[in-house]
Symmetry: C2
Subunit: 158 residues, 2 copies
DNA sequence: ATCTAGTCAACATCCCGTGTTGATTAGATT
DNA sequence: AATCTAATCAACACGGGATGTTGACTAGAT
């Protein structure tokens, strides 16, 4: 995602109005590396603009995705997470706290070779490749040394 | 996922009863490479057992996931998809028809090097790595040569 | 034959996201 | 400054997916 200022340009060029609500979403999302949900962004925007509607924030986020300025991170079954970082990178997903962390992949040359593998599938058009690491983040890995239930995949934090 | 017969053993060993409903889910899922949703499995089971409840099918699927016999595929925001193939493989996701296709990855040695990359994150415990390819499957790539809307990311099939 | 886990129906509830409507506000442009 | 029109708002309803609840009943496992 470009800077809020650049997005103002972009929106104007596309004939979209530059409203305070949209700008508030721009700055709420700018530089965020935590892959927030729409609800989180809404909460954040309301701190500065208490009357903004949920609908509008969802709308602006979808607009940003449609423009390719923001990516949707699809790594779990929870609510949609948004990623303003559209440059090439991977993700680590903590199986305990569900946090998503960026992983700069210097080894994308290796992944590129995966694309070669897909040439076994004639007619398929590969547009992107993402690598998802799963496991425990440093916080969750150090927390409960004992009392580890096995296969507790039904547990989900609220 | 093991064979329905082996799962019968497994369930008995774990003190779980081997009911016709559970066995029906076993065979409905066995050898399925299409990553079906719970609703699809429910429909399939009802062909042979019309009175089975939705609740029970969801329950059995969760049981299978908890036992590690079935994996959950988290590649989009739609309903949960189940994968009875627990061996090491990757996925291709069609951005048009949302179908998920297995990709045998002979290059997992490359991906292993990604795990090395994560050593930059002290304290993180990587448990699994998956590669997700996105693009158009052969069917969807050949269908509409013209009339391509740009950035139509809001469109979703029912 | 008994004990108890499973199952069932028929609800309700929750979450996430979107559709609707009609009134109002306020960018963009002239 | 006036106009046109997109955008926003409130206050809803709704939809899909999944789970919780209750109480009665069924049927594995021993």
């Amino acid at each position: 995602m470009r800077s809020p200022e650049a997005l103002v340009e972009r929106f104007r060029e596309d004939g979209l109005k530059v409203t305070p609500q949209r700008q508030a979403v721009f700055s709420a999302l700018h530089g965020d590396l935590t892959h927030p949900t729409a609800e989180i962004i809404w909460d954040r925007v309301r701190l500065q603009m208490p009357t903004v509607s949920r609908r509008t924030v969802y709308q602006v986020l979808n607009d940003l995705v449609s423009l390719g300025e923001v990516l949707v991170v699809a790594v779990d079954n929870g609510p949609t997470r948004f990623d303003p970082n559209v440059s090439l990178h991977d993700h680590f997903v903590c199986s305990i706290c569900a946090s998503v962390i960026d992983v700069d992949s210097d080894e994308r040359s290796n992944v590129a070779s995966h694309q070669t593998t897909l040439s076994d599938f004639p007619g398929f058009e590969v547009e992107s490749v993402e690598v998802v690491f799963r496991g425990k983040c440093s916080s969750c890995a150090s927390l409960p040394p004992a009392s580890s239930k096995q296969h507790d995949t039904n547990t989900r934090q609220k």
